[in-house]
Symmetry: D2
Subunit: 132 residues, 4 copies
């Protein structure tokens, strides 16, 4: 996971499992969100939105599930930018299970910048371009 | 939404919104899961797993977010099969907001059949092939 | 459930169950929150907070679990005020399962009024006293 | 928190906050559940249910909310037994916020022993009595 700038460590909880006795697919995306939030805070001096109320909004995501995770375990989620387009940032992330000692999911996300006052997409803020 | 065999109606709750005052991206995937579960129960006489403990497991999903949803609202999630491959079923789903009167998200899923006793992928059960 | 002014109907989802194959205890409190939110919106012309950013905040709650609920089912949650104290409103609520045709949980809540600008408890707003 | 035998440390996530910009009341109970699960696993050699499928089921809980928690933060949840009755164990727990350096919630729980095969309450297992 060394190639990931932002890494978040999250303890798996019993309730993360569903009635099929595995961690539910939706929980993987909660974990990825936790890393994504940290990444966009990192780009913007620790704040999710800037002083003009411009912040990230998720436009698309995908997740490939490799291995079921069970409680107890601890996962590490890494995220990094792979591309900057005119109106979006593409990030890629990986979930690693300590108990299984392997990557259990891959994900990609498209994030756009959104003005929470006017409720419209806006050009990417400069600090999303200057920082990485 | 008429082209969808399985449709699930879900009331949006206040807590579905996050601190950005929109329904959180992960909640859309919970809604889609609710429809997907219903679809696989429909293929198997109302049961999620068959008597040999073979049932669906999600291998991949993507979601395109079109419009933010807010509370109060009610969404309708439709799901249908678009392709049957040797080892997976590909489904497609749509989330429609009653308050906005438009589709707010599209999603696709790859579901494989999994033996919950041996913890391995197995060939698709016959009733996943015979039913649609 | 006729004695309840506010009633909210919620479809149980598969994921509401946990690894013990019952709806998880925490989900009951999400359902109760959904009804409580509706009750405080009802007191305040459909808005959760008034124009001064004063709104409800939960100070205490209890829940007695009577019967396990399983998917599929639909629950109805009723809530009503039982007492108005100087600095709080006490409400009582019940969860009824359609599939079981019985009450499956009782709950009580203490809600105080909170100024979200100054981040302090404030006296109960007048429309919480005038309306019921 | 030294008087607590079982302590669980949990990082607060952005999504734990709701639209009122505080951690949602229901999340506190998820945290408490995480500690309660650990406590009952501790009583039973690391397993939640014993080989006869007898395990804990929550019969009642209350929670007193002292202070709002916000992201980012890390909480520590402690739990301990306060009484053993004929048919239930009463536990008490506390949530401590590292960022606020204070206790933010108190909770009590009644847990009974349940036979997940016959779906009935059963006498407390011996290892719930011998261990503490």
């Amino acid at each position: 996971m060394d190639e990931y700038k932002i890494k978040v460590e999250i303890p798996v909880q019993w309730r993360d499992m569903d009635s099929a006795h595995h961690v539910n697919n939706v929980v993987y995306l909660k974990w990825i969100e936790a890393a994504r939030i940290r990444y966009f805070m990192h780009l913007n001096n620790g704040k999710l939105q800037n002083e003009d109320k411009i912040g990230p909004i998720l436009a698309w995501q995908e997740c490939k599930y490799i291995r079921p995770v069970t409680f107890p375990d601890t996962v590490i989620v890494g995220i990094r930018r792979v591309e900057t387009l005119e109106d979006k940032i593409i990030t890629e992330s990986k979930i690693y299970s300590k108990a299984l000692d392997r990557v259990v999911a891959f994900s990609k996300q498209h994030t756009v910048s959104y003005d929470f006052k006017t409720r419209r997409k806006v050009p990417l803020p400069l600090n999303w371009l200057y920082n990485s």
